[in-house]
Structure formats: structure tokens, C-alpha cells
Amino acid sequence: MSAKTVRLTTPLGDEVLALKAGDRVELSGTVYTARDEAHLRMQKEGIPFDPKGAVIYHCGPVVKDNRIIAAGPTTSARMNALSGFLLDAGVRGIIGKGGMNATVREQLKGRGVYFAFTGGCAALAASHMTLKGVHFPDLGMAEAVWIIELDRLPLVVGIDPQGNDLFGTVLAGAQRAAGRQGCG
């Protein structure tokens, strides 16, 4: 497994196709937060930003006085069935925690990557962020689409554009181990 660190800046292009699961990435540039409600709204009303090369961050931040206070990732699996239209529209990266299912793994093939950011690391994340604006503020603090400028957020490639999936590999190993212990 590689331990190199790749620096990338949004909007992302074909450079993401060279990324491999396990690569460490420092990401800079604009990202857009979106959770369940924002995905549903964008499906209905359209994507309020240019999706070409864009990066979606599964995150419901704490915001006060137009400042990001805390902004760690939320569980990506909740968006498994809601992400296809974004990738079809040109989104190249998704940041979240816990990984995504085989549907998203297929949708990412040859197009984009899933970046894992460490769950719970909201203060660290905030120290790499500047708030730029908001879409759908009526959805409330956790569910709105916040426009955030990143400065070298430390990520790891969880699912690469070839379909390699760190989470899937770990889960298969866990299932084998549970079977051996009679806990399957």
C-alpha cells in the first residue's frame, strides 16, 4: 500500500484517474457540503453550482457568525442511493466517512474517487477551511449546502476509479474473522 501524499486542487480533472485506494491526498479549493436533504433538493430543483470537476463533502457543519466552527464528515452510506446524478453531472470527488456501496463504486469507475476523511475530526477540518457561502439555507445548519474553501485537507483515497475499495476489502476480512470465531 502506498504512503505517498498527492496534492490536488478543485475543480478536479483526469488527474484523479491515477489515484489508487490508500493514497493520501491533501485537497485544496472549493467543496460543497451535502447530506440527505440537500441531495433530495438538488435532484428536484437542480444543482446550484457548476458540477464539472466538483467535490461533494458529506458534512453538516457547526457554523457561527459566518465561520466554520466544526465540520467533520458524516456517514456516507446514507447517500448511497442519492449520488449517481451528481457523478453523471460531472462531480469527480466525494468526501465522507465509512465508505459507500457497490452501486457508487461502479458509478465512480473511470470518473472519480471517494475520499475518506477521519470521522470526528471536526476541529482539525475547520482549521483547514474558509466559509464562502451557502445554498438552500432554509434546510437548516446541518442540511444546507455550504460552499467551503479547503486548504490542504488531509484525506485518504477510499474507493479509486478502478473500483478498488479499502472498506470492501476490510469488510470481507472482518466477515472471515467473524466466521472463524463462530460469530458470523
Binding site: G119, G120, A122, A123, A142, C183
Partner: protein, 278 residues
């Protein structure tokens, strides 16, 4: 109790609740930090080591900046201990609720509390039965808060085993974590409540999370080793430590029952206790 005294009591308890919440969401308890340092030392892979680097930097950033460790500042679970000199009254619940409101604005906390069916958000982290306040007698007048995030709470489980199935307790604990995968932000702490009733076993499991996690008895260690053989690792990205600790709390139960509850807690095992100045 005189009116003035009751006002003082409310103010003191409300302030203590707010202070406990402030401490809990920003500063991790020392035993949790020690357990995380030990877990980091167990790893050699670049991916898990990168996760621990982020976790340790995050703990430092929260302390330095005075901001919450995690944006999911949870729902407020509150334990009150009352010495006999403190009168039991509705004012206690009202004061704790007021303290949570203050904490929500002052720290700030993310407003997480909604009606379960309409999903209407109260905006101040209070609602019917929230904060969840547990009152019991104690030597000190103290308030303990355990802000509980949803990622880990959502994968928690209750299983009603039969008395003949005691050997299945390990299977329940390991199975809970296998089904949870990386979703509860491992390395987790597992609170296990054994005995009591259908409703009290999960409460025991949650209270077990308040015990020091850097020591385990032989039974807890055996459960913890079994979970760690899964290899789920930090954030489900693979590694040697999936659970920092398993903590067990028991209560007597019906001769025909064996309730087992597993309350999953993320690596940020946040809780804090503050004495009430009254």
C-alpha cells in the same frame, strides 16, 4: 425551600450543566486519550497511522481553538447525583434544560434534537424527554453529561438471549460491531449492559461508557480481543484496534431472561462531570 434558594439552585445547576457540556464536547477525558495513544502504537500501516495522526491533531486543535471536537455534538444525556440535602423537584429538570439551551448558543452546539415524526428541529437541543435526565442519590451534588452522536448510536443493539445462551454474549458483541463496520467512527468503545430488563439493559450499556476505559477486567478484555480480531480498524479502513475498550455493567434479571445491550460509542468517548456549586 425559599423562592430565593430555588432561584439559586436553578442558576447553579444550569451553569454547571452548561460548563459540563462545554468541557465534554471540547476536551476528551485523559483515559480516552491514553487509550487512543495505545491504539496508535499498535498500528504499523500507513492508512491507520494517517487516521490516528488526524485524530490526535484534531484533539489538539479542539483544545487550542476551544471548539467542539466533532460537529455532531450529539444529543444531551445527563446524569444527576443528589445528596440528601438537595430537594428533588421539577426545578432540577428545568435547570438542566436551561443549561443545555445556554450551551447550544454559547459553545455553540449543533441543534440536533427533532420531533421523531415531523422531524421539526427545536433549534436548542431540547424537546420531549430531551435532555434525557437520570437522577439518583449520591454523595456529591454533581452533573455528568454524555453528549451522544448518532453515527455510533444508530448501530447499537439490544438482544434478548435465553438464560442457556450465556456463551452467545460474545457473538452479540462481535456481531454488533461486524454489522456496524466503519460507520460508528472506530476505534469504538463498547458499553455492554447485561441483565435487567428490555429497557434497563441499554441504560446500563450507556452508563458503562462513563467508566475508565484504560483498564478492563478479564471478561471485558476477552470481548475486546474478539472484536479486535475483526480488523475493522480506525474508520473501517483496516487496522489492529477496532475497539479501544469494552466496558460491562450488569444488573439482576429474571431467571428466564438474559438481556444483552451493546451501546456503541465513537472514538470520541465524550463525557464530563461538574460539581454543582450549591
Amino acid at each position: 425551600m425559599q423562592q430565593g434558594e430555588e432561584r439559586d439552585l436553578r442558576e447553579a445547576l444550569s451553569a454547571a450543566t452548561c460548563r459540563a457540556m462545554h468541557r465534554a464536547v471540547i476536551y476528551l477525558p485523559e483515559d480516552v486519550k491514553r487509550a487512543l495513544a495505545q491504539a496508535r502504537a499498535s498500528e504499523s500501516g500507513a492508512v491507520p497511522l494517517g487516521e490516528y495522526e488526524n485524530i490526535i491533531k484534531n484533539i489538539e486543535a479542539a483544545e487550542r481553538l476551544g471548539v467542539p471536537l466533532c460537529q455532531d455534538t450529539g444529543v444531551p444525556i445527563v446524569y444527576l447525583t443528589l445528596p440528601s440535602r438537595v430537594p428533588y423537584s421539577p426545578a432540577l429538570y428545568e435547570a438542566v434544560t436551561e443549561g443545555i439551551r445556554r450551551a447550544t448558543t454559547e459553545i455553540p452546539l449543533r441543534p440536533n434534537v427533532v420531533d421523531p415524526l415531523t422531524r421539526h428541529n427545536s433549534g436548542d437541543n431540547t424537546g420531549a424527554g430531551m435532555p434525557a435526565v437520570h437522577v439518583r442519590p449520591g454523595e456529591r451534588f454533581a452533573v455528568t453529561v454524555l453528549p451522544k452522536g448518532a453515527g455510533a448510536e444508530n448501530v447499537s443493539r439490544i438482544t434478548m438471549l435465553l438464560p442457556s445462551q450465556a456463551e452467545k454474549i460474545e457473538e452479540v458483541v462481535v456481531g454488533t460491531m461486524l454489522a456496524a463496520e466503519g460507520r460508528p467512527c472506530p476505534p469504538v468503545v463498547l458499553g455492554v449492559g447485561i441483565g435487567g430488563t428490555f429497557d434497563s439493559a441499554p441504560a446500563l450499556a450507556k452508563e458503562a461508557l462513563l467508566r475508565p476505559i484504560d483498564r478492563m477486567d478479564a471478561f471485558e478484555q476477552k470481548l475486546c480481543d474478539a472484536v479486535n480480531r475483526l480488523g475493522i480498524g480506525p474508520m473501517g479502513l483496516g487496522g489492529k484496534t477496532t475497539a479501544l475498550a469494552v466496558k460491562v455493567k450488569t444488573a439482576a434479571c429474571h431467571t428466564a431472561s438474559l438481556p444483552v445491550a451493546v451501546n456503541v460509542q465513537c472514538w470520541a468517548n465524550r463525557h464530563a462531570t461538574v460539581e454543582v456549586d450549591w
